[in-house]
């Protein structure tokens, strides 16, 4: 990896609350705290993995960044191609539209995210048309180039998506995302719907494209093994908050938050001789509509003490680049995986 440059994206105190409405007048009786004060940055050219269990708010975070949904509060700064830093929340529609060229998304399910009535030329060429490439021959040349880049043959451009396998469809989705030369690509579980033998192809493709095109990835996933294969740094979310953020190697080999350690120990390893180091978590993920007091993880945490039940742990930098939100991060010795 080249030396990290200035952040491409910086998020501060991002919050997204979904109102819970009840009764005839649809009064708001509470909020689901889907994303509850999330802060991080992504350097240009790196991959930040965002992991957590279902309902932890990782997808909502990703969608807020793209302004696919409006965040409740918080700031999102993006450095544009000409070096200016803009606050995405403050942009007017025209400015947002221009900025959207630079941020694209890859979706989880390649079966439902491609319109079955459009050919590959239309699917991949649509963003080009929307952003002003009116000449058909120019578009065809660009689509052919994009298809080759993602490992498909250019002759396929007159075909419809149903003729392709899951892995090939995911390649089509990637080509579409790359059409406008984005700098930030948000990939939401891009390989979890694919067969295992095909996952590896797509992960390798993403690594190659990043190196060739100097892309920056926000990689949202639940599978820690996949995240380790692609991320430079990893953020772990639990009930709307990031509990730990660290360089990948450090996070896996020496986790600082008990939830990270529990997640790591829960991954079944494809080796019957692997030592079984079970860290069984009691209970279930807290409800983001009525989270517990103090640290949201305390009811399940084997290391919880009195302070964890009352006080929200401060989000702090332990060593340069290692952030954690746990009262006992300094004293705990937690097991990771080498």
């Amino acid at each position: 990896m080249s030396a990290p440059s200035a952040p491409l994206l910086r998020i501060a105190g991002l919050q997204k609350l979904f109102p819970i409405r009840k009764g005839f007048f649809k009064r708001t009786v509470g909020h689901v705290r889907a994303v509850d004060g999330v802060s991080f940055h992504i350097d240009e050219g790196e991959t930040l993995g965002l992991v957590g269990e279902s309902g932890c708010g990782k997808t909502t975070t990703a969608r807020c960044i793209l302004r696919a949904i409006e965040p409740t509060s918080g700031e999102i700064f993006m450095r544009t191609a000409d070096g200016a830093v803009v606050e995405i929340g403050a942009l007017r529609p025209a400015g947002l539209r221009a900025l959207r060229r630079e941020m694209q998304m890859i979706f989880q399910d390649p079966y439902t995210s491609l319109n079955p009535r459009m050919t590959l030329l239309d699917l991949v060429g649509e963003p080009l048309l929307v952003h002003g490439m009116k000449s058909r021959s120019e578009r065809e040349a660009r689509v052919a180039d994009l298809l080759r880049r993602v490992g498909l043959r250019a002759e396929y451009m007159r075909r419809f998506p149903h003729a392709f396998s899951g892995g090939e469809r995911q390649r089509i989705g990637i080509a579409r995302a790359l059409a406008l030369h984005p700098r930030l690509v948000v990939a939401d579980e891009p390989v979890s719907a694919l067969d295992v033998s095909v996952q590896a192809q797509i992960l390798n493709l993403l690594l190659d494209l990043q190196a060739d095109l100097r892309l920056t990835y926000l990689f949202v996933a639940h599978d820690l093994s996949v995240v380790r294969h692609i991320s430079n740094r990893v953020a772990v979310m639990y009930v709307g908050r990031i509990v730990e953020l660290a360089p990948t190697e450090e996070l896996f080999s020496a986790p600082k938050h008990p939830y990270t350690a529990a997640l790591l120990s829960a991954v079944p390893e494809p080796d019957p001789r692997a030592p079984r180091r079970r860290l069984m978590l009691e209970g279930e993920v807290a409800n983001p509509a009525s989270p517990p007091s103090g640290c949201y993880f305390h009811p399940r945490c084997p290391h919880a003490v009195d302070v964890c039940r009352v006080e929200t742990p401060a989000w702090r930098e332990l060593t340069p680049g290692r952030f954690v939100g746990c009262h006992r991060a300094e004293e705990l010795k937690l097991a990771g995986v080498e």
Partner: protein, 344 residues
């Protein structure tokens, strides 16, 4: 074939599937979903059936339970199952493939002696009946007990699978339970009649890792206590390593390799098994390590390759052999069988 010779052939296994073929006759063409599958399930052991989408692992399970949806049909083969001993007599051996799917014998076996848990507990419970009532129904169907006794048994089995305050939970509807609790309730229903074989079709695929760990541990514990055999269908090699004693690897409707779990992971023979193990992301790895994928994709079921079904993707492909001959599953070591021309 009289029962005696059958019994001799089935001295060890609880379930013996022999050359099973389940085809789907569709307007677009014939899909050979299961095409000559053979394997044994030993009492008290766990056989993992592993493979990618379209390999026929779920259709195999549905064939055993005789719940294959139309237009699917068992064309050929035997599914020999040793029934539970009754009235002091040793368990009768039946060929499930020959039974009427809706006849009394199959209905007495299905749910009672062979139970099934599905991937998606949300769609396998009725949304309008309480979870407890559905388990009560299953008990009443297979056991001669009163409704009150069945209710007590339901509470006991729910408690056993770790559902907290089962007296209240049993009156809730499926959607009122979390994913993990729903899967526990599903397991409770499957175990309510003490089956000798539990077929678990991707039981943890829809769950988060921390919940998955709890459910896998629960299944292991229940197996230790009840001594049932488990046929575990999964695509996750991590789950296989964790749970299985024996493994059958399937590809496009055929078993390509079967062996004890340690041999599958540490001495795999079939090129597909080896390639699969190389391609999976692992948690113990160097960060941002490139993976070794398998080229291409699983072929569409309408155009199955000739010869060995894996040959178009195989790194060891030998022209003139692999695309012509269909290899059969032959032993290469004790309890280790491979279907590949390299070992014929």
């Amino acid at each position: 074939m009289d029962a005696r010779t059958l019994a001799e052939r089935l001295a060890g296994p609880l379930l013996s599937v022999r050359n099973l073929k389940t085809y789907f006759h569709q307007d677009e063409g014939l899909v050979k979903a299961v095409d000559g599958v053979s394997f044994d399930v030993t009492p008290r052991a766990t056989l993992a059936v592993v493979g990618e989408s379209g390999c026929g692992k779920s259709v195999t399970a549905r064939s055993i339970l005789r719940i294959v949806d139309r237009p699917g049909r068992i064309e050929e083969g035997e599914i020999l199952f040793r029934r539970r001993p009754a009235n002091g007599m040793p368990g009768e051996i039946v060929d499930l493939a020959n039974l009427d799917p809706n006849g009394p014998k199959m209905r007495a076996i299905r749910g009672a002696e062979i139970a099934l848990i599905f991937q998606e507990p949300m769609s396998s419970f009725s949304p309008v009946h309480s979870v407890g009532n559905q388990i009560v129904e299953a008990i009443l169907l297979h056991q001669e007990v009163s409704r009150g006794e069945a209710r007590d048994k339901t509470i006991a089995v729910l408690r056993r699978v770790g559902v907290p305050s089962p007296e209240e939970r049993m009156d809730q509807l499926a959607h009122q339970l979390s994913g993990g609790l729903r899967q526990r309730a599903m397991i409770a229903m499957a175990l309510s009649c003490k089956p000798s074989l539990l077929i678990a079709d991707e039981p943890t695929t829809a769950l988060d890792v921390t919940t998955q760990m709890q459910i896998l541990e629960l299944m292991r514990q229940l197996q230790r206590e009840d001594g049932m055999a488990i046929m575990l269908i999964t695509h996750d090699l991590g789950v296989v390593a964790e749970m299985a004693t024996e493994v059958a690897v399937m590809y496009l409707g055929r078993v390509v390799e079967q062996a004890p779990v340690d041999a599958i992971f540490h001495a795999p023979k079939h090129p597909y098994t080896r390639a699969l193990l190389r391609s999976i992301p692992r948690i113990r790895t160097r960060t941002r390590e490139r993976l070794t994928p398998i080229a291409g994709a699983v072929p569409h079921p309408y155009d199955r390759p000739r010869g060995c079904p894996f040959h178009p993707r195989c790194p060891e492909f030998k022209a003139g052999r692999c695309d012509q001959e269909t290899p059969s599953l032959l032993p290469v070591a004790p309890r280790h069988a491979v279907s590949c021309v390299l070992y014929q």
